[in-house]
């Protein structure tokens, strides 16, 4: 079994090296782990920091958005013939120990898509963020008929068969909902597992603003009507 860990990176020079180095190199049931860091046109020294690690570096010449970087990472994962692709955020908010939890249902062939949910045990999450997530969950539910407790989580595991079927083309944060919508269309088994979130002042300053919600909603609707 081959596993690829995809990290979209945009201006994360302060933490990216630590994030990559903290990722597991051995996991139960996995023979090979590849780390794919997609530098999405960072203007700081993120690229240099990634080069100090053993991660495969992919460079976007310009900043296109976290969705675009994630898709690039997934495409590389497909080229590396990985059996499971995991995406995690580059700001260090995800606990690398949770990777084992998100891949487990796929290893046991009980799921095609596993979402690391920050909202099953949501202690520490700001109330505004919880409210925003609920709105996105509701929008995603309207668009695909599946209720997921944390649609905006960047921590996901996708099985190879599902990865090859996904038709992803969004650019920004709407990728999170797009993956779920696509998985629902493919009638894939979607599971959620609780994950721990490491809230630091750095990770809190990252992520999407509430105002971006309007943008995400517009893009998802346009996507639904195939424009």
């Amino acid at each position: 079994m081959k596993l690829a860990i995809v990290i979209p990176v945009f201006n994360e020079s302060k933490v990216i090296k630590t994030v990559i180095n903290s990722l597991p190199r051995r996991l139960k049931g996995i023979d090979k782990i590849s780390i794919i860091a997609v530098n999405d046109g960072s203007t700081d020294s993120s690229q240099k920091e990634i080069l100090k690690t053993d991660a495969v570096l992919l460079n976007h010449p310009i900043n296109l958005g976290t969705g675009s970087a994630t898709i690039t990472g997934f495409e590389m994962a497909k080229k590396l013939s990985t059996d499971i692709a995991v995406s995690i955020d580059g700001d260090g908010q995800h606990d690398p120990k949770d990777i084992e939890k998100v891949i487990e249902p796929i290893l046991e062939q009980k799921a095609d898509l596993v979402i690391g949910s920050r909202l099953i045990k949501s202690e520490g999450m700001p109330k505004l963020k919880k409210a925003g997530n609920f709105i996105f969950n509701f929008i995603t539910f309207i668009l695909c008929g599946r209720w997921v407790s944390d649609t905006q989580s960047g921590f996901k595991a996708i099985s190879r068969p599902l990865l090859s079927k996904l038709r992803l083309d969004t650019m920004g944060y709407e990728i999170c909902s797009e993956i779920i919508i696509e998985a629902a269309q493919q009638k894939a088994i979607v599971k959620e597992v609780p994950i721990r979130v490491i809230y630091t002042s750095y990770s809190k300053s990252k992520g999407q603003s509430m105002l971006n919600g309007v943008n995400i909603l517009t893009k998802l609707i346009f996507r639904k009507v195939k424009i």
């Binding site: 992919l58 460079n59 976007h60 010449p61 675009s68 690039t72 495409e75 083309d169 424009i227």
Partner: protein
């Protein structure tokens, strides 16, 4: 006030029309788009110079029964149509850029892998 509106419309019209023409000459825009923007701005400039045209237009479409609301409604519909066109075009360009960046990023990584002899 009317003079200021005329000057403002003339400057904007000149900028848009010269841009439309140079874009057409440089083959960045089609003839249809150039004609479209020319007609649109000729209409705007005509109204700026002859505001009475609006009243005549309203008379043509049924006099006072039409009302300014209808004219503004039509204007709003037109603006929304243009916004829609701009949005879809930007969306297409964004997706094309994404594909290009992806191809470059993966191609470059694979190239490095081959050069270093790894498989």
């Amino acid at each position: 006030m009317q003079a200021a509106a005329k000057i403002f419309a003339t400057i904007l019209g000149f900028l848009v029309l010269s841009r439309a023409y140079t874009d057409y000459k440089a083959k960045k825009e089609s003839l249809i788009m150039m004609v479209f923007w020319t007609l649109t701005w000729v209409a705007i400039l005509s109204i700026a110079y002859y505001p009475d045209l609006v009243r005549r237009l309203m008379d043509l479409f049924g006099g006072e029964r039409t009302g300014l609301g209808t004219v503004f409604g039509m204007g709003l519909a037109f603006v929304l149509y243009v916004s829609y066109r701009v949005y879809t075009k930007a969306n297409r360009i964004e997706k094309a850029l994404g594909k290009l960046a992806r191809r470059l990023a993966i191609g470059s990584a694979e190239g490095k892998k081959t050069r270093s002899g790894k498989k």
